[in-house]
């Protein structure tokens, strides 16, 4: 599956030998179902009062039984299809047994030897290069509760509180093959995986709140070896940056251990953000024996081929394919196409702008420039802003038609984004129409030359940039309405440049 063989930056040196890191990622993604995995409680646990979204089933009270959430199964099938997985007809749930206060039943209902899907792959890009990483399996399980410790961790806390609102929220585990070789690849794989899950509407991709979380397995080995080195599992990475830094740190740590002649331990390490380091949590000797066995409360699941085919048919265009189409159809570059397809909403917005007749390149520039800046500033996406997609299209058409200048468009955009309104009416009402009449601008150009003797001298001495201050003068006098290109041309004519 791997296509990551010869990339310069993945080489490590241990003494005079070349080494290489091997990384596999395990992603847990909560499904956007209304109810929990095995009961009717709401799965919307964020912000709910503690233990309010609970019932006898998700609290694990004696005598209760799980009932499979059909929507969760369909979302997982959708994911499996999007990740090119094989979906066997027969799948079952198993119990994973361990004690922890956030796990009310003392076991997690998960899938062990017959997962819902296996053997898929995800395509992604690193520095404009296409890569592919194998997906070992995608399976379905239930989330645990949330704990609040009076103290850092459970072991040293004076007391701990358990909130069971998250207990039983449907959780997908996506196990990746150890096909990744660098922290950059790992980060890009995650970014693309998250993008796919959000595109197909099964996950909200929130790393901070933990609806999308990642653990990594990393080892290093001599280049060319087909044996895997001693594996270290890394946990507690809550952002793409953390994944990137933690893997970079861990690979270097392992390299140094080997360089100093030491031996690596199979262990679980946690990423500690404040120390920017991984810290040992548990060694192999203390590894859990989960005593998996088939969940006797749930009969095996038979997935009819027709259901899988229906879900396959309903799959939206995926980000990779959509980016390729935007490049082809609108002549966009790799980088722009990637950004414009980062979310389905973004891509939909872009395509609806273009559909209203706005130029593909212009729409891309504005969306990735000013609109992105405003969205970030107001923490509000375009769709929810006063302007909306329709307003933006109207504004850009005014710009394209030459009715308004670029700087007026920029000014109006900021105002409309915040307050809303009709761009054309505003232009009319305030007389913001662009001045593109050479005659009308002529006297202002003369004025600019008269007051800017230093700039004029500089320009004549060969300083191209000096012209900008003269253009700026005219723009200022017209409150941005002047056609900047026309002003530029008029100035050059006058100055004989």
């Amino acid at each position: 599956m791997s296509s990551t063989a010869t990339h310069g930056t993945d080489t490590l040196r241990v003494g005079d030998r070349e080494y290489q890191a091997v990384i596999g990622l395990e992603v847990h993604a909560q499904l956007l179902t209304r109810s929990k995995m095995f009961c009717g409680c709401s799965a919307a646990y964020v912000g709910a009062p503690p233990n309010s979204n609970t019932c006898p089933v998700c609290l694990g009270l004696p005598g209760t039984l799980p009932v499979i959430n059909r929507q969760a199964v369909e979302y997982t099938v959708r994911t499996a299809v999007a990740l090119n997985c094989e979906i066997p007809e027969f799948t079952k749930f198993d119990r994973k047994n361990y004690f922890y206060p956030d796990l009310p039943k003392g076991y997690q209902i998960s899938q062990y030897d017959l997962p819902l899907s296996r053997q898929g792959w995800l395509q992604f890009h690193v520095d404009g290069e296409q890569r592919r990483c194998g997906v070992t399996r995608v399976h379905l399980e239930e989330d645990t509760g949330t704990m609040y410790h009076a103290g850092d961790v459970l072991q040293s806390a004076t007391s701990s509180l358990v909130d069971c609102n998250r207990c039983g929220v449907p959780l997908m585990e996506i196990v990746g093959e150890p096909d990744l070789r660098t922290p950059e690849e790992a980060r890009e794989y995650l970014i693309w995986l998250r993008r796919v899950l959000m595109y197909i509407g099964v996950n909200d991709g929130n790393l901070e709140q933990g609806s999308f979380r990642c653990d990594a397995n990393v080892s290093i080995r001599p280049r060319g070896s087909d044996q895997l080195g001693v594996k270290v599992e890394i946990k507690n990475m809550n952002s793409f940056r953390a994944v990137h830094h933690a893997l970079g740190y861990e690979i270097e740590r392992q390299r140094q251990v080997l360089e100093q002649g030491g031996a690596l331990l199979q262990e679980t390490r946690g990423w500690v953000e404040t120390q920017q380091a991984t810290v040992s949590q548990r060694s192999k000797e203390y590894a859990h024996d989960y005593r998996y066995f088939p969940e006797p409360d749930l009969p095996p699941l038979q997935l009819e081929a027709a259901l899988v085919e229906r879900i396959r048919g309903e799959l939206p265009e995926l980000p990779d394919a959509r980016a390729a189409r935007l490049r082809r159809q609108h002549g966009l570059g790799d980088y722009d196409a990637g950004l414009l397809t980062a979310t389905r909403e973004e891509a939909d917005t872009y395509e609806s702008l273009v559909a209203t007749g706005v130029g593909a390149k212009l729409a891309a520039n504005w969306m990735l420039g000013e609109v992105a800046r405003l969205a970030n500033e107001h923490r509000l996406p375009l769709q929810q802003s006063g302007l909306g997609v329709v307003g933006l299209a109207a504004l850009l058409r005014l710009l394209e038609a030459g009715t308004i200048s670029g700087s007026v468009a920029k000014e109006l955009l900021a105002e409309l984004y915040r307050d809303g309104g009709d761009p054309a009416a505003l232009v009319e009402q305030r007389g913001l129409g662009q001045v593109s009449d050479a005659g009308a601008l002529s006297s202002l150009v003369d004025e600019a030359i008269a007051q800017g003797s230093k700039a004029v001298a500089d320009f004549r001495a060969g300083k191209e940039a000096a012209l900008q201050s003269l253009v700026g003068y005219v723009m200022k006098q017209t409150r941005g309405r002047a056609d900047a290109q026309l002003v530029n041309r008029l100035l050059r004519e006058r100055l004989g440049g």
Binding site: P56, L59, G60, L61, P62, G63, T64, L65, P66, V67, I68, R95, N97, F99, P101, P104, K105, G106, Y107, L154, S160, V162, D289, R291, Y292, F293, P296, D297, L298, P299
Partner: protein, 490 residues
């Protein structure tokens, strides 16, 4: 007229012809509990106040529309203390559940409530239904109404004894390896374990999920069929409950058994069978033959492996099912500053010896490196056992044999766990195969009741009841009552 020791059918008829009221039935039940239960120990938690309200409600329903009311309307019932009833203490016979009041009612119990049942209390049982004598109750042992120096069987000993002692005309129990049929045999009443998946397990505190099934105790097969009709059927809250329609057992009861082929499993008449039991069961076989059934000897060759198979699968499931008793959210907790010590103290003092033994057995059987040798192999043998039953049922309509190899034994007579496990050697293969099984009185040995077991193919519950009913009607053993009932009538 006294209804103590009477049947559901008789109570239902009298409730309709004005011969008795729900309140009067309740008063009689209460009087009998107060008269004899100090000796028997069947009722762990009486629910008299609740019962009073239910009796009043049943009275209203019977007055308003006696035709529409269920035969169970206004009739007292006792529930094994592994069945959840909202707001009523539920202990599963264990210290670890002290103080637990379920906030919900299980499906089978709810169906009884919907029918107008009057719940008089929760009955004693072996801790988490693990045992065959009810001596494993953390609260007190139950004593056999026929002889108070002897056990009533188990684990549903309280429910069996409550019916045998005339406290209630029927009760609910649960059967994982024989826990309804064996105490029914030892107490001289009828006990019915339906096909796995016929009665919802929602609200049944799990011992071994793939084996547990709820069923009734009563004095007659007809009564058991009435209760079964009320509680059976698909439940969306239990994914292992069958969505197929439930056959009306009352219809089947009338069909008789002339021309039926009954199988006599050779392996069930081995050395461990007490002579008195063998005599009574062989006599029963002759009666069945005399009624027009043909008897065929059949072989179930893997019967000998059933006990060890059961004692891998059931403990494996129980080790996982009982992990939730951690002292955190409900039931008993032994406080300690350190979490691990709190777990250890709570579970160490909350569980009894037999429960701990099975948790350890099951944990071991599921452990990495042992799974294939134990759990996986046991599942394979389980499949073979089920296939052997299925093969036998191609030749015969039902199987007949003893329920228990022995009659009721004295308390403390079986302190060695293995000898206790042997109590269920004739019943647990039925659970492994998920079949329906009835135990009904078929005579006495040394003054103690003997039980006849009828086993039918999966979902042929009505057929098992039909054979049992025919035998019962032909012999009249169902009219015998324990001395505690006779004393009440006197």
């Amino acid at each position: 007229m006294s209804f103590t020791g009477g049947t559901v059918a008789a109570s239902a008829a009298a409730l309709r012809d004005g011969g008795v009221s729900p309140q009067e039935l309740l008063t009689e039940a209460r009087a009998q509990v107060e008269r004899v239960d100090a000796e028997v120990g069947a009722v762990l938690t009486p629910t008299w106040e609740l019962a009073e309200r239910q009796a009043a409600d049943a009275q209203r329903r019977l007055r308003e529309d006696p035709g529409a009311a269920s035969p169970l309307c206004g009739v007292p019932v006792a529930l094994k203390d592994v069945l959840c009833l909202e707001g009523v203490a539920c202990t599963a016979g264990s210290r670890i559940l002290e103080g637990f009041h379920p906030p919900y009612t299980g499906t089978a119990v709810q169906r009884l409530l919907d029918a107008g049942a009057v719940v008089i209390g929760k009955t004693n049982c072996d801790e988490f239904a693990m045992g065959s004598s009810t001596e494993n109750s953390a609260y007190r042992p139950v004593r056999n109404p026929w002889d108070r120096s002897r056990v009533p069987g188990g684990s549903s000993g309280g429910s069996a004894a409550a019916v045998a002692a005339g406290m209630v005309p029927y009760s609910l129990g649960t059967d994982t390896g024989g826990s309804i049929r064996q105490p029914a045999a030892l107490c001289g009443v009828v006990g019915f374990k339906p096909t796995y998946g016929r009665v919802s397990r929602y609200g049944l505190i799990a011992f071994a999920s793939s084996l547990d099934q709820i069923g009734p105790f009563a004095h007659t097969v007809e009564d058991c069929a009435l209760v079964y009709s009320a509680i059976a059927g698909h439940d969306p809250r239990d994914s292992t409950s069958s969505p197929t329609a439930v056959e009306d057992p009352m219809e089947a009861l009338r069909a008789g058994i002339a021309g039926m082929r009954l199988g006599v499993p050779h392996e069930y008449f081995g050395e461990g069978l007490e002579p008195g039991v063998r005599l009574a069961v062989e006599e029963a076989l002759r009666v069945l033959e005399g009624m027009g059934a043909t008897l065929d000897e059949v072989s179930l060759p893997s019967t000998g492996a059933a006990l060890s198979t059961y004692y891998i699968i059931a403990p494996a499931e129980c080790s996982s099912n009982l992990a939730r008793y951690d002292g955190i959210r409900f039931g008993m907790r032994k406080e300690h500053d350190a979490l691990l010590q709190m777990y250890l103290d709570t579970r160490g003092s909350g569980f009894g010896a037999e429960v701990k033994r099975r948790i350890m057995l099951g944990t071991y059987a599921l452990s990495s490196g042992y799974y294939d040798a134990y759990y996986r192999k046991a599942q394979k043998v389980r499949t073979v056992i089920a296939e052997e039953f299925a093969a036998a049922f191609e030749r015969v309509d039902a199987l007949v044999c003893a329920t228990s190899p022995t009659v009721a034994f004295p308390l403390a007579a079986r302190e060695d766990p293995l000898s206790m496990y042997l109590c269920d050697v004739l019943t647990l293969p039925v659970n492994l195969a998920g079949l329906p099984g009835v135990s009904l009185p078929c005579g006495m040995a040394d003054g103690l009741p003997v039980g006849l077991q009828v086993i039918a193919p999966r979902f042929q519950d009505a057929r098992a009841l039909r054979v049992a009913h025919a035998y019962e009607q032909a012999t009249g053993w169902h009219r015998t009552r324990s001395p505690l009932v006779a004393a009440a009538a006197a």
